[in-house]
């Protein structure tokens, strides 16, 4: 070991940054806010921040540390990956959370616009994302275009200096709370992939109408979104006309990457009390102090080991990735493993708590248990949205393993 390169050995500048981060957190993060973030706020809509929460959000937004590695010129933190990791460690130590971390602007749209947007578009759209001032939603799916996204029909007609959009989107998460929508539209009906264009639409434009849809978890985080003669200025087109599929797919990679644990929303869903302690409480212990139910014990152990292997793989993928190369082929693998582990965890929580783990509302349940019931149900979507597990497996089989299409 002595001769191995010491990847993790702290270089001095990093240590200097560590103290800077520590001091800044001490000055700006109120320890009373520890654990007070709402991990579902990205899907359940804005909740009214307390003055303390709002102050924290303003502070981290102004500093650009809500998106630590984004360039400073657009309000980002301008940190290196190593510095960003240090920041994350220091935040974890004091229980600080990123209020913007789960937003579509941060996870998906921002990174894509930084890559494909014009200078003007970046200046206009990135800073409000960094400060959490505007909410974005994703107008991709349509009733007939889910997994087969490229068959989308929502049409944008060229009217010189603007487009006129007509059609329907569905499953638009946060559509009812969003200020803006990044969307894929068809500008050419004669081609499938090359006929798609990437547009940015103001949700307050005349002709945009949203209808919330209720989920099995009881919340209404997504909408049917209707577009009737909606004017979108040409300046709101990202990339060239017909280039939307390439850009849209890139955004999906960012989405999958963040869902697979690369982003903060997924890691927050993994947080919580260790399952073994909960199991001992509900199931009891045997003479040797182990979880009394042997089968449950092995299930929990398998889950904990899968989680560790997942975390190690995430780290390996991150170390492998050359800086700035963005999400790689591993994205699909990580999304599927992340989804599976998250769902297994929820199922285990129910199994451990028995009937108390299936509470819906009202008296007789503790708050954590009620939250976990809703998470269990909402979590069934993780293997569906952002490209379902089946579609990721197709990507792995075809793009990574070189397997062939069904003839």
């Amino acid at each position: 070991m002595a001769t191995a390169p010491e990847i993790d050995a702290p270089a001095d500048p990093l240590e200097a940054f560590r103290s800077e981060a520590r001091e800044w957190l001490a000055a700006n993060f109120d320890p009373d806010l520890r654990g007070k973030d709402n991990s579902m706020s990205a899907v359940e809509g804005p909740n009214d921040d307390t003055p303390e929460q709002a102050a924290w959000k303003n502070a981290i937004g102004a500093k650009g540390w809500s998106v630590p590695t984004w360039p400073k010129e657009y309000g980002g933190g301008g940190l290196s990956r190593a510095e960003a990791r240090v920041l994350q460690e220091e935040m974890a130590k004091v229980g600080a959370w990123n209020p913007m971390g789960g937003s579509m602007g941060v996870m998906m749209f921002g990174p894509t616009l930084l890559e494909y947007g014009t200078e003007e578009q970046k200046q206009e759209h990135i800073p409000p994302i960094v400060r959490g001032e505007l909410r974005w939603c994703q107008g991709y799916s349509e009733p007939g275009a889910g997994s087969d996204l490229a068959s989308l029909q929502c049409f944008a007609e060229d009217h010189g200096d603007h487009y006129v959009v007509n059609g329907q989107k569905t499953w638009t998460s946060g559509g009812q709370w969003a200020d803006k929508c990044f969307m894929l539209v068809r500008t050419d009906k004669s081609k499938k992939h090359e006929g798609i264009t990437f547009l940015l639409c103001d949700m307050t434009s005349p002709g945009v109408e949203v209808k919330p849809i209720q989920l099995i978890s009881g919340s209404s985080p997504f909408c049917e979104t209707f577009f009737t003669d909606v004017k979108v200025p040409k300046g709101n087109r990202v990339g060239a006309e017909g280039q939307g599929w390439t850009i849209g797919k890139r955004l999906l990679q960012h989405e999958r990457n963040s869902l697979g644990g690369g982003g903060s929303s997924a890691s927050r869903l993994f947080a919580g009390a260790p399952l073994s302690a909960l199991a001992k409480k509900y199931v009891g212990v045997d003479a040797e102090g182990r979880i009394a139910d042997g089968e449950l014990r092995s299930k929990i152990i398998k889950h904990e080991m899968d989680m560790r292997a997942f975390a190690l793989t995430l780290r390996r993928v991150q170390l492998d990735a050359k800086s700035n190369s963005g999400p790689s082929a591993a994205t699909s693998i990580m999304k599927n493993v992340g989804a599976r582990i998250m769902q297994e965890r929820s199922e285990l929580l129910i199994e451990i708590r028995g009937m108390a783990g299936l509470g819906w509302e009202g008296e007789g349940f503790d708050e954590d248990a009620l939250k976990d019931t809703r998470h269990w149900l909402f979590g069934k979507a993780v293997s569906i949205y952002g490209g379902s597990s089946e579609i990721q497996n197709n990507v792995i089989a075809k793009r990574i393993l070189g397997m062939l299409d069904h003839q």
Partner: protein, 358 residues
């Protein structure tokens, strides 16, 4: 399919037709949205009693038809398919307790009222959120029962409780002054209540022997398995139909081999589930000594299979399956409750191992 007598076949077909026509899933949705205090469909329960289903386990002498568990299972399976919300399963479990362990006077007092549908009856066993028949602390002294029972099915409306106390099973009338109930709303939108017995007048079921509680909870588990079988079957069939109609990439989803093999696997598991569940009913009707093993086999396999099918139902429907407007969520939520009831798959595998000397 178990070999059914002509009578049983008629009963099953009638139940199927009734469930399809009179009690489709839209009826469950209506009940859920209206959320009546009893948390079941009172009209449907009345109709079931009129058709004689409440008396399937009740001897003819007390106004029932005494057709046994294979028959009851055939009916409950049909009701499970459409998620019919009535207290038939709970009442049947309590009925089995009285038939097995009640005195002639107790039978005469309660069974005719159960068979006619006048009284909803239920078992009250667990004192915590997990099935634990070996951890009963409710006790009786001087004919008065005290203790708290958790998540009692149909506890909101039951007119009769069969209560497990430390020294045996007791009958407690629902309108006794010592009985109080608080609703517990679970994800499945059915009735589950905490029931507190505070010096309630209790009459012991004296004739059942020392293992009466186990006999009774085995019958309750078997009834649950019947409902699970119907649910798994319906969830599977709906998914299969959907895959044949939904088009993506210019083809119906049913043309993708990745999905075909998953459906084929589920279909195979369902066949095993049916055999195990029907095997338990047959063991009960024949009063065989291996009822405990048969029930544990059925409940463990039913739990795992329904869990799989209900998860796949949501997954394979994609975004639609995540919406409340679609029925997939109802199957998913009810599945986990039934899985938990009367011992989950782990509990029953553990008991199966113990009984077999593993």
């Amino acid at each position: 399919m178990a070999i059914l007598t002509e009578e049983q076949t008629m009963l099953r077909d009638m139940a199927r037709e009734w469930a399809d026509n009179e009690s489709p899933v839209t009826a469950f949705r209506k009940m859920r949205d209206a959320a009546p205090a009893e948390m079941f469909d009172a009209e449907a329960w009345k109709a079931q009693a009129e058709m004689g289903w409440a008396g399937i386990l009740v001897p003819e002498a007390q106004g029932g038809v005494e057709m046994g568990f294979v028959s009851l299972g055939a009916v409950l399976e049909q009701l499970g398919r459409t998620l019919t919300a009535t207290p038939l399963a709970a009442t049947s479990a309590a009925t089995a307790a009285i038939v097995l362990g009640g005195s002639e006077a107790q039978k005469a007092a309660w069974l005719p009222r159960i068979a006619s549908g006048e009284v909803v009856a239920t078992l009250a066993v667990d004192e915590g959120p997990r099935f634990a028949p070996d951890r009963i602390s409710a006790s009786v002294s001087g004919g008065k029962l005290s203790g708290t029972k958790e998540f009692v099915t149909e506890g909101d409306s039951a007119g009769l409780f069969v209560v497990a106390a430390a020294d045996g099973l007791y009958l407690v009338a629902g309108d006794d002054a010592g009985v109080s109930r608080s609703a517990r709303y679970l994800a499945d939108s059915r009735s589950h209540a905490q029931v507190v017995f505070d010096g309630a007048a209790a009459e012991k079921l004296a004739d059942g022997g020392a293992d009466l509680l186990i006999k009774v909870t085995d019958r309750a588990a078997a009834a649950t398995c019947a409902e699970m079988l119907g649910m798994a079957e319906a969830a599977f069939a709906q998914t299969n139909d959907y895959l044949k109609t939904r088009v993506q990439f210019g083809q119906v989803l049913a043309s993708f081999q990745a999905l075909q093999h998953r459906m084929a696997k589920m279909f195979t598991e369902l066949e095993l589930m049916r055999s195990a569940v029907e095997g338990a009913f047959e063991a009960i009707d024949a009063n065989r000594p291996d009822v405990p093993q048969s029930v544990s086999l059925a409940k463990a396999i039913a739990g795992d299979t329904l869990n799989l099918v209900s998860r796949e139902m949501v997954q394979l429907h994609g975004g639609i399956g995540m919406t409340d407007e679609h029925d997939a969520g109802f199957y998913l939520k009810r599945a986990r409750v039934l899985e938990t009831m009367w011992g989950n798959a782990s509990w029953h595998r553990e008991r199966f191992a113990r009984l077999g000397g593993y």
